[in-house]
């Protein structure tokens, strides 16, 4: 898999893996993309915090009869109060040998406007830029995600509305893509959190119907500095929807 990466990405991956040997203080309830759901809650990591996250997933795309494996290391830094920056790169293995976009670099900025109160939900905006550093990748893509978190009792709902500008598109692909998702979380006990979500995405190809996906998952706080997440899901709607997806992810605060 690593032979498809350029040198800076390989360094990022190796540095990220190296952080497994250090410590401290994980963010148990802070929902983040890929851990194990796609849902983002409206809160960033704390100011001055550093967080490393690595998620491995397996997908089966029934329409193409293809097995897909993905590993995504990501580093986050709380560079100011209520905001963080993130740097990650998805590394994908496809059974059919298609490595397009493998090793693109994603840079994200996240800003939380407010904390949830009795009368107001919490609001946040996340922007991300995907640089075409990966295999056969074209154009700089831009994403904007609006996030709203609202809770009652120990339950929380999260609304994610996203827009992607698909600059590296091929013929027959949409220039503008929209996503909408609802996520839910609830503590099981002090060490475990249940998470679930339902998303609908516009498919990049114009001829394809919207893609629906769902995930059910569990987050387990292992110790004060790390969290493990596990998720199972699938899709429906267009035939191109993912039939089955399993995710295992690890997060380390330090």
């Amino acid at each position: 898999m690593f032979k498809h990466l350029n040198r800076p990405i390989a360094v990022l991956v190796l540095l990220s893996i190296g952080f497994f040997s250090t410590s401290f203080a994980a963010d148990h309830r802070n929902l983040e993309e890929g851990f194990p759901t796609r849902t983002e809650d409206a809160y960033p990591i704390a100011f001055k915090a550093l967080e490393f996250q690595a998620g491995a997933s397996y997908e089966y795309e029934g329409d193409d009869k293809t097995h897909v494996g993905e590993f995504e290391p990501e580093l986050k830094w709380g560079f100011m109060k209520n905001a963080h920056l993130g740097l990650g790169t998805p590394l994908t293995w496809r059974e059919n040998g298609d490595h397009t976009n493998n090793g693109d670099i994603e840079i994200e900025g996240f800003y939380n406007f407010n904390v949830e109160t009795q009368s107001l939900p919490a609001f946040a905006l996340k922007t991300s830029v995907t640089a075409p550093s990966g295999v056969d990748s074209r154009g700089v893509d831009f994403q904007l995600l609006g996030i709203l978190t609202r809770g009652w009792g120990q339950n929380r709902l999260h609304f994610n509305g996203g827009y992607t500008r698909n600059n590296g598109r091929e013929s027959g692909e949409r220039a503008d893509l929209y996503t909408f998702g609802i996520g839910f979380d609830r503590p099981i006990d002090l060490d475990h959190l249940f998470v679930a979500e339902l998303f609908v995405d516009q498919a990049p190809k114009k001829a394809i119907d919207p893609l629906f996906s769902y995930t059910l998952g569990l987050r387990k706080q292992l110790n004060p500095w790390s969290v493990l997440a596990f998720g199972l899901g699938g899709g429906f709607g267009a035939p191109e929807a993912v039939d089955f997806k399993a995710t295992l992810a690890y997060q380390l605060g330090f």
């Binding site: 309830r29 109060k81 939380n112 407010n114 109160t117 002090l190 110790n223």
Partner: protein
């Protein structure tokens, strides 16, 4: 897409003018080689911390639910706390996790509590870490206290209880004073037991710097806590100077900060329980404004007596559960002054 962005931003600017619009402003803990030493070396005691912080956070949501039968609710909460003592969590919960409704009501209060819990963890870690010689502990403690006080919006004052609670808060003149204790006596007992256990661990750590002996001492305190203190809890909120006299002399700022945190818990519960307080958020924030650090507070830190200077932290003497103690002395003094006035 871009047509909607100005509308979205305008809506956010409008919402930000709302009275209860508040930023989260969380800050990560201070990094040090000692981080998590307490968790690694005193795991059983760490687990008791999770129960203490669960109880302190959870009761706020229980009070907000306004139980009709407080006698029954008090007994149920007490029983649940005792159950948790036998089945503690492995990791420490944030207050938002166990008291989410209270966090929505008064985020700054939750933030102040979690921020002070972080200081508490820092000092436990420093006192545990055998790589830090006894003579250098205070340097690291002061570093942690400096970091704590660098967030004055949520950092409790390092000035003594007499200055912060009696003078600035005017505890005994507040209409809500004692409303929790009167209605929730069993739960109050649990909290007063925790306020013995929390500081006495510091005293043992100071007296037993050798890690093996420290681990034995802390385990003995945990046994004492379950077997003697929970069944026969202190009859008042103990102050740091009574329970950890030597540590209070070593680190008076930290000792006062913890006293002010402990009293802040009680103040929150009084306000939530009291039917006289209609706008609970406003009253809690008024108290935070009075209790957080002010210029000059650090110079007052050592202004308190040490009534039991030779206390053995591995015993639970009568002076802890009988008599007025420091709280009785301070309140009697305050009442005397008011009557004279």
């Amino acid at each position: 897409m871009w047509r909607f962005l100005p509308i979205l931003l305008t809506a956010l600017i409008f919402l930000s003018s709302c009275q209860n619009w508040e930023s989260k402003n969380e800050v990560f803990h201070l990094r040090g080689a000692y981080n998590n030493e307490f968790y690694k070396r005193h795991f059983k005691d760490f687990q008791l911390t999770t129960v203490a912080h669960w109880a302190h956070g959870r009761i706020s949501d229980v009070l907000l639910s306004q139980p009709v039968d407080t006698v029954q609710a008090d007994r149920e909460f007490y029983d649940k706390s005792k159950w948790f003592l036998k089945h503690p969590a492995k990791t420490e919960p944030h207050q938002t996790y166990v008291g989410p409704e209270f966090a929505r009501l008064a985020w700054r209060a939750v933030h102040a509590i979690d921020w002070t819990h972080q200081l508490h963890e820092q000092l436990y870690d420093i006192m545990t870490d055998s790589r830090i010689p006894s003579s250098e502990k205070i340097t690291w403690i002061n570093r942690a206290v400096d970091y704590y006080l660098s967030e004055p919006e949520v950092a409790f004052s390092p000035a003594p209880f007499e200055e912060v609670i009696m003078k600035r808060v005017g505890l005994m003149q507040q209409p809500w004073f004692k409303s929790f204790r009167k209605n929730w006596p069993k739960t109050t007992n649990i909290f007063w037991a925790f306020h013995w256990w929390h500081p006495v661990v510091y005293e043992a750590q100071l007296l037993y710097p050798d890690l093996n002996r420290q681990q034995e001492a802390v385990l003995k305190i945990d046994e004492l806590f379950i077997e003697k203190v929970i069944p026969n809890p202190p009859n008042r909120m103990l102050l740091s100077r009574e329970v950890m006299p030597r540590f209070s002399q070593l680190a008076p700022e930290a000792a006062n900060i913890f006293d002010n945190l402990h009293m802040f818990h009680g103040i929150i519960y009084d306000i939530l329980q009291s039917p006289d307080v209609k706008d609970k958020r406003r009253e809690i924030y008024r108290m935070i404004d009075r209790m957080t650090v002010k210029p000059g507070d650090r110079t007052m830190a050592k202004n308190f007596p040490t009534p039991n200077p030779d206390l053995d932290p591995l015993v639970y003497p009568e002076v802890m559960w009988k008599g007025g103690g420091e709280m009785g002395r301070i309140m009697g003094h305050s009442m005397h002054h008011r009557m004279k006035g």
